[in-house]
Amino acid sequence: MIRNALKSFTAAAAAGVIALLSNAPAGAQEPIRIGVLQAITGPFTKNGTENWVAMQIARDMINERGGIPGHRRKVEYVFADTPTPTAAITETERLITREGVKITAGSGLSPLAIAVSQAAERHGVFHWETAGGAEIITRRGHKYTFQVAPSARRYAEAAVDFIVEQLTERLGKPASGLRVALLWENRAWGKSVGENVRAYAPKKGLKLIYDEGYDQFITDMTAIVQQLKNVQPDVLVAISFPNDAILFQRKSKELDFNVGAFIGVSAGYSNPDLRNSIGGMVNGIFVSDFAVQVNPKALDDKIRPIAEEFFKRYDDQMKRPPAGHASMAFSAMWAFFTELLPKAKTFEPAELRTIALGLDVPQGAMANGSGIKFTNHDWAPDQKDFGQNLRAAVGVWQWQSSGNNQVFPTRLATHQPAMVPLPKWSQR
């Protein structure tokens, strides 16, 4: 009896020593916990829900493949609903202090992104921002906030570059002779993009003949459309959310406001439901947005099947193709799982930060055509900038009857821009 007990004890002791000596960290098979903050109730629900679905697909796909490459640890999300910026701060605090997460991801929209990253930074938690693009996110002196999605500046630049490179010849006017109008919804996103268009356009030789903001609760677009009619722009760049985008388009048709080309920036104009709401009116509208379904030749061989699988799974679940921000959310999380986490050992924020700063992922290596290269106080236009992804893919796609087709930049494009100048309403 004692002999047996001694034997068992020795075996156990031996196993213990072996375990101690081998480098396996305690709980080697424990999943990696990532706090996820999205708005699935409240005014931002639409974006939040779509982002959340995309992020879950990323998690499911990586776990089906055995978890994080190299570590074989699965990914586990700890979710919090953040309907408002105040809730975002409280919920982030809760995930960090009560659930103990050291990594957060999200959050679908700029006002929430600002709040979440603020709360995360206070605790020294690593935040991977998947969709929010307001520039202030990377200008606050944070150390652990990384904005994977393109910043507002990039959208503005894509729109302006598209005008100069593709529209001027199609409209038959040089840049200096083009009349460009700018319309923006006056919350963080609209303002941010607007500011950048305002700053970048003159550098490319364009001048703005109209520049107005409006309130999100607007119900009557008559004054705005009338102002635009009187100013007769060739190109209109508009940053709107779904409800105001629909109101604007309808009012434009009603008052017969015609423009040579219309460029919407993200949010309202990239929403796949727009076609359901305004039907054929939508054809011809350009959208400066995340790249959605890029030219497959622009993607590298490893990521191409992943991108295809994502599109299929999203479409199966939501019964429609993913909007740009959802695609970005997936790409960002996939890159996090396959480019960043495999290099980690302790998964502490400081280590993740170092790895992130060292990432040099070429464009085309992510599912939506993006790459990764973060600023580190070394960006010429603004030394304060930290954590902005300079290789996030932004381009211009167009609503066409065959679908939403990428038309700019050439590297990512699958189609040519069509319907320039835009036929008058009476002819559409």
């Binding site: 919090a80 202090t97 006002p111 963080a188």
Partner: protein, 323 residues
Amino acid sequence: MPERGSISLFEVVLFGVCLTLVAVPVPHFYQDVMIVTFIWAGVALAWNIAGGYVGLISFGHAAFFAIGAYTSTILGVRYGVTPWIGIWIGALLAAALGTTLALIGARLRGPFFILSTLAAAEVVRIAALNWTSLTGGAEGIWIAPVPNAVNMVFASRTTYVAVMLGYVAAVYAIAKTLEGSRYGLRMFAVRDDEDAASAAGVNPLLVRAGAMTISAFLTAIGGSLFAQYFQYLDPTHVASPELSFQFALLPALGGLGTAIGPLLGSFIIMPVSELLRSYLGAVFQGLHLAIFGGFLIVVMLYFPDGLAGALKRLGLGRSKGPP
């Protein structure tokens, strides 16, 4: 059970419990809930001075809150004025707005007054949103999270909890004092029967203006403290109608017209709504809010005196004087 004009055992015990929660090490998340609860309780008490004591129901208190928050923050971040002083400036500005509102609404009663407060608050919100050079507009303003006592940024969350407790205790003391004073009698008189009060020599306009001024002043302080803790302000969540409703809701649920009502309302509703959202938020989109809405309807229809009134009716105290 608390009564007008005297301190009851209940209040002493409650204060003791709060002090203990501040002193004892408590997990961060609970401290966060406490901080928010204390601030909201203070504002609810301040709201009640106008709404419960004088009957000036306001759905625009977020305007005072925002003025307090933005003033102390702008002065601190842009001009280097310490928030310890900035808070009072914000409070004075808000008080001025409060007096103005009372004067504008001098002849308004009932829903007319409510709507005028709503309109005024919306004007403040839209101004804050569009006056970008002053307020940072939609992107907001934030305070650098560098701990520094002069800038009222504390490293320890416990210090914040202590400060907020101090705030709510002070507002409670003021409310309680008002409640039991001669001025308080005048306030209740104006609320219950303005004509009779007038006939008895009370000047309703002065009482209304006074109450709004005090209420606005105290609310603004809460706003400044909020700014110092959250360190991020933007008009959409600091000056919104939703926030105004919350500030009116808590005293209504807790029991208007008493000092303990808003306190009870906040201490119970705030943690419960945080918990509801944390647990049900991910389950079914909007379920936790739907439950909250339903609960509100039931309470208001069947317990219009709020929680304080319900407790009284359950015989936990003898009522002395009008409810």
